[in-house]
Symmetry: C2
Subunit: 339 residues, 2 copies
């Protein structure tokens, strides 16, 4: 059912992406992808009493909507895997509590969307599950006050800084499904890479080496080259991190300049919306992948996509203690129609 080569698992019977849904906030809705999102909340609190509860609400809404679109009940889902950036991943716990679905809690920082998707598809492909759901989220206000400054402080942002996306995305993966549905063909789980970056306002640079390492491993394992794909999509490297990724790979003889894009570069109108290096957060990859990207795949506009979200695995404490920022990136190969 599986075929492992190097670090990559190839599925002999690729599971399908049955459905997906995205939820975002006001700033994201004011960006170029507005028309692609399933749910938009103009209220940063989503009717809740705190930003943390609001973030849980984002996840809850994304999962509910994905189940609805997939015409599948929560009881039919074997496992849900998800995580987020908040301490002890409370957005996921409090959101998933509502569904009564067996829960495999993940922590992959901003790599969580591809980590959860990789795991969900592996469990479906090997027969441990018929249906799995994957979910992840971030919220500008909960992230800002946990990782940086109180919102009211109005701190100045460095040019390399990124803007945490208020959003969530959820995917339902099934072992079997209609031929026309997009399928996950292979996954590569990443190693932790750390080139010594210590600047938490330059996360893209900290995460680019992880994406480079995972992509290089996948291309070698699969015997393919960047030209074989319509899109090689990273999660939230932003403008600077994306440039660095392209250069790191170029040094290894891999040119992804044509195929590469980054969710953090496309979710906002970078100049107009004053987001410096772009979007970031678990919800960046989750909401972009579960909206425009999946819609383009389903419509046949994109036939062959590599998704590889990256996560920076530090905390405020590790940074204060002078540690550099380790990062990880997990890759998922999705295609629709004949490959």
């Amino acid at each position: 059912m599986l075929n492992k080569k190097g670090r990559t698992v190839f599925f002999k019977k690729p599971p399908v992406i049955r459905s997906y849904a995205s939820v975002v906030g006001k700033k994201e809705a004011n960006g170029p992808l507005r028309e692609y999102f399933d749910v938009i909340s103009m209220d940063a609190f989503l009717g809740q009493k705190s930003y943390e509860k609001a973030e849980a609400q984002l996840q809850k809404t994304a999962v509910s909507r994905a189940l609805l679109k997939g015409k599948i009940a929560a009881e039919q889902i074997d496992y849900i895997m998800g995580g987020d950036l908040l301490n002890q991943c409370i957005s996921s716990s409090y959101a998933i509590r509502e569904f009564g679905i067996p829960f495999i809690g993940l922590y992959g920082a901003c790599s969580t969307m591809s980590e959860s998707l990789a795991l969900a598809s592996t469990l479906c492909a090997c027969g441990a599950a018929e249906h799995c759901a994957a979910v992840s989220s971030s919220h500008f206000c909960s992230a800002e006050r946990q990782f940086r400054f109180p919102l009211n402080y109005g701190g100045q942002r460095t040019p390399t800084a990124q803007w945490t996306v208020t959003g969530a995305g959820s995917v339902v993966v099934s072992r079997e499904g209609e031929k026309s549905l997009p399928r996950i063909h292979a996954v590569t789980f990443g190693k932790i890479e750390d080139l010594g970056i210590t600047d938490i306002n330059n996360m893209g640079a900290a995460m680019a080496p992880a994406a480079a390492s995972t992509l290089a491993a996948f291309l070698e394992d699969s015997g393919t080259c960047p030209e074989d794909y319509d899109l090689i999509l990273t999660g939230d490297l932003g403008v600077l991190g994306s440039d660095l990724l392209i250069r790191l790979l170029m040094d290894n003889g891999i040119n992804i300049r044509t195929q590469h894009n980054d969710c953090g570069k496309i979710i906002y109108d970078i100049e107009r919306q004053d987001v410096h290096s772009g979007g970031s957060g678990c919800g960046c990859c989750a909401s972009v992948f579960c909206s425009k990207i999946m819609q383009d795949i389903s419509a046949g506009k994109l036939k062959n996509v590599l998704l590889m979200a990256t996560g920076a695995l530090m905390s405020t404490v590790s940074v204060q203690q002078g540690e550099s920022i380790p990062a990880v990136s997990h890759l998922v190969h999705i295609s629709c129609g004949e490959v």
Copy 2:
């Protein structure tokens, strides 16, 4: 290769526990299990500059020792899955960074040892991996200052409080291995349960319903009863949580009084070591399971064991915001010799 019934996955070809190792601190070494641990550090800092780095060192030592005992190189391990209680799971990230093994980061709070073991065995059983490592840790000093008070404050502890174990445990699971090795036969991933407990000094009570739910599901799926097992071991319910678990199950007609024990009850001499309701933390289950329990299984003293660590999925923020404490418990069925 797998057979799913209800919420439980049964492995047709059960993977083996190739090796395991435990590392603990001074207080744990002064308890009744002293002779069973692989490594004891009398220095709470383990030679590091902070408690957080010390906790990463616990994990690093546990993994290194487990690899050594299993006579296997890091390069041969397909995936390592682990997590801990620190914000953004930094103990795991900084420990695992050193090994260059593809990393599946988990967050299951104190359920992480059985979550990681369940996932490791599933991936081995389905052929996605030949060898996986699982790891988890906690450290009294890093947990205390993150979740409760600065150590120097000398806060009074309530009678229901538990003592966070300074310790780590790691297991190497392999798809194939000698007949004499212990094997993992089935796993049940838990649902999030929340009966409305809001007292963070009474974690055992918050977590007991999750263990009860998972065990009841497993017994039903497997068609077995508590008498079929030598030991039904929870992770860190402590004295109060264990009593509650027994009562909750009794209400459902399941009597585990004879078979049940809890790592939090056996790691310390509860009266003499003044630990109130017992030990807790991810490292509690990890260090007890990866020492006495695995040694007893390997020696044939225990033939049939159910391990089900429980995790409380709250954070200081969720508790301050008045939320109750959701919990999860994952179960692993281990046996040695003929079942």
